[in-house]
Amino acid sequence: MSSQTHFIGLNTITRRFASIPPFSERLAKRITGQKASTTVVHAVEDVSLSVAKGETLGLVGESGCGKSTLGRVAAGILAPTMGQAHIDGAAVMRDGRKNTTRVQMVFQDPFASLNPRMRIGDTIAEGPIAHGLVKKADAAADVARWLKAVGLDAEAAQRFPHQFSGGQRQRVAIARALAMRPDALVCDEPVASLDVSIQAQIINLFLQLRRDLNLTMLFISHDLSVVRHVSDRVAIMYLGRIVELGATEDIFLSPHHPYTRALLDSAPRLAADGAPVQDIRPISGELPSPINPPSGCAFHQRCAFAQPRCSQELPVLRSLGEPREVACHFPLAQQGEPL
């Protein structure tokens, strides 16, 4: 397993969140002889992914699919319940603490991810100084360099987050991540809260930085068109598991998993000549809750092609003979469905 093809390696990651009821409730239940209920949220279940050096892997899914949780595990913010995350062969976390600075995260909400009481220059310089990457005396110059790299003026370092627009704040957040000289970035919905025209600017910034710095990226988004534009490969997640994985254009042009297909069909989009596609076909039913996942395939209740086997047996992610993996008992390609 070369660490170049598996630059970011996520091995059998499972992450569950257990909410333990407060002590008083446990005591009360103990006294009355009942069992205290612990709700377990199955955020991520048995996910293995790898991203090659310099590659961008898009992670797509809706709420509750676990993409943000997986991203946080990859960035070393959350420890997995089972499994391990690696960067260039080295474990990202040790003893529940992040052990590396080589992978950094860019968050969704540009205002919330910056300390409102710190000047952005201090925010950007804090990490590098604390880790000895930059000496205090050189900090200002370093900050200026990163601000320039993201398209902001050096004098912006003196200002506070609330004095910037959303797009500018997101640039600051990117500068902060880059100042740590990472090899990999995990971007959690970095353009979701931005206007369309600003979104375009930030996407272009990502593309440029990726070229200039040869970054490896895990790009998380619910927006299919954005993911399609920036990713080399895409992984589709549903209720904590990967349901489809492959090269971006392959997946978008001929999806093999019914959920991927349904997602593409239901998204409002514009045709090539600009005309709106009005025939959108919504997926029926509600997103299941990660606390009580359905038996067998998590998608079977909403799937147009479901069979009895789908509710009994969990489909495993497997390759269909091409560099594509699907977790489905009856993938579309094999059904002879027109793709």
Binding site: S193, S197, I198, D223, H229, G274
Partner: protein, 423 residues
């Protein structure tokens, strides 16, 4: 969504550019206040936020000014004041429901008055769905609130007229406006968790909305509530009726909010980014449901959004706003395929779906100017590749039915717009 503008901090707080915190009550909100004062022990309205009626004071302020409205803002007067003939639409002969003329809404900020809406005019006919599109700070949400009279001080409707069924809404006394809100004209907001009262059951909230505009019996109210919930596609409406908002998923909550808006059979519903906070698959469901609902009920819809693709699924006509001004209007397909205004073109071009994967997207340089520091003349000129000296004077609105635009150098003028105005 974030307010992506350079507005001074104070102004940002005053701008209801999409109410993430739900500063305003649901369409039945004013009604909720009324019912409460009658003696029911309900907390009035959403836990955090101002209630609709104070907007009445803004209306009052304008009333006292009376007929002293400035004759429309200096720039962009409407060509002929012939009303609906100017805004001819696909449905020829359909009744004119809403007529907005030269609407201007101002907010007092530390750096001077900010015109969030400046000289906006459009028509809505019965059964029509129009899309009001723009980015943060474009004034699209404020337009929606201004129509409903939900602008609180330090904002006010500074000029213009809004006629619903021929009745002038600007300057209307509070009580009359309250009678209309929820009955003839309703609103659906972005975040259903703030629009719905978290401490009241769904059934209670629907009852309050119904009792505000009539005296139905308990039986009748339950019947109507169940019907309304079924119509918006909520499965098992009996159970949902007795639930609290937090027991429902995001999509369900928004459906409940929509059901409440449609409860009293309004003629016009204004939707402010109703699906922005929802997942893609739920959004698709709601869009399709809205389409059926609107067709069956014969209701008109004003759909406010920043997402071109979403709005285009439903809207037969698109209105594009920038810096408070209406810069382009026309049948949806036409506007998207052959936009006349460079901003609209830029907006479409910057969509990721328009560029080859991995290639840089076409981006509009710069950012939306602050409303207190707008450039003279065309507000877009500093970001426009086609700007010339003449753009220092504000462009007038050019009207060539079914399209209008406000630009000195319109694009795509070669291909004639089809008379049909295909969607």
């Amino acid at each position: 969504m974030s307010a992506d503008t350079n507005m001074p901090g104070r102004a940002e707080r005053q701008f209801p550019a999409g109410p993430p915190q739900g500063k305003l009550a649901p369409s039945g909100g004013s009604a909720v206040r009324e019912a409460t004062s009658v003696g029911a022990q309900f907390p009035a309205g959403p836990p955090q936020g101002k209630l609709a009626p104070p907007g009445g004071s803004a209306v009052h302020a304008v009333t006292s000014v009376g007929a002293q409205f400035p004759a429309g803002p200096p720039q962009g007067k409407l060509a002929p004041s012939g009303g609906s003939a100017v805004h001819a639409v696909t449905s020829v002969g359909a009744t004119l429901l809403l007529q907005v003329r030269d609407l201007a809404t101002e907010f007092a900020t530390r750096s001077g008055p900010a015109r969030a809406v400046d000289g906006v005019s459009f028509d809505v006919h019965a059964g029509e769905i129009i899309g009001l599109v723009g980015e943060s700070g474009s004034g699209k949400s404020v337009t929606g609130y201004s129509i409903l009279g939900l602008i609180d001080p330090p904002g006010r409707v500074a000029a213009g007229s809004v006629k619903l069924d021929g009745q002038e809404l600007v300057g209307m006394p509070r009580s009359k406006l309250r009678a209309l809100r929820g009955r003839r004209i309703a609103m659906v907001f972005q975040d259903p968790m703030s629009t719905l009262n978290a401490v009241l059951k769904v059934s209670t909230q629907m009852e309050l909305a119904m009792r505000a505009h009539g005296k139905p019996s308990k039986q009748e109210m339950r019947q109507r509530s169940l019907q309304a919930l079924a119509k918006v596609g909520i499965p098992d409406p009996e159970r949902r009726l007795d639930a609290y908002p937090h027991e429902l998923s995001g999509g369900m909550r928004q459906r409940v909010a929509i059901a409440i808006a449609f409860l009293n059979n309004p003629g016009l519903v204004i939707c402010d980014e109703p699906t922005t906070a929802l997942d893609v698959s739920i959004q698709a469901q709601i869009l399709v449901e809205m389409r059926t609902l609107v067709r069956e009920a014969g209701v008109s819809l004003v759909w406010i959004s920043h997402d071109l693709a979403t709005v285009s699924v439903l809207a037969s006509r698109l209105l594009v706003m920038y810096a408070g001004r209406l810069i382009e209007e026309g049948p949806t397909g036409e506007v998207l395929r052959r936009p006349h205004h460079p901003y609209t073109q830029g907006l479409i071009d910057s969509l990721p779906s328009r560029a080859a994967p991995g290639k840089d997207l076409l981006q509009i340089p710069g950012s939306t100017p602050s409303l207190t520091a707008l450039p003279s003349g065309c507000a877009f000129k500093d970001r426009c590749a086609h700007a010339t000296a003449v753009c220092d004077t504000a462009p007038q609105q050019t009207v060539a039915p079914p399209r209008t635009w406000r630009c000195h150098h319109p694009l795509n003028m070669g291909a004639p717009t089809t008379a049909q105005g295909t969607r």
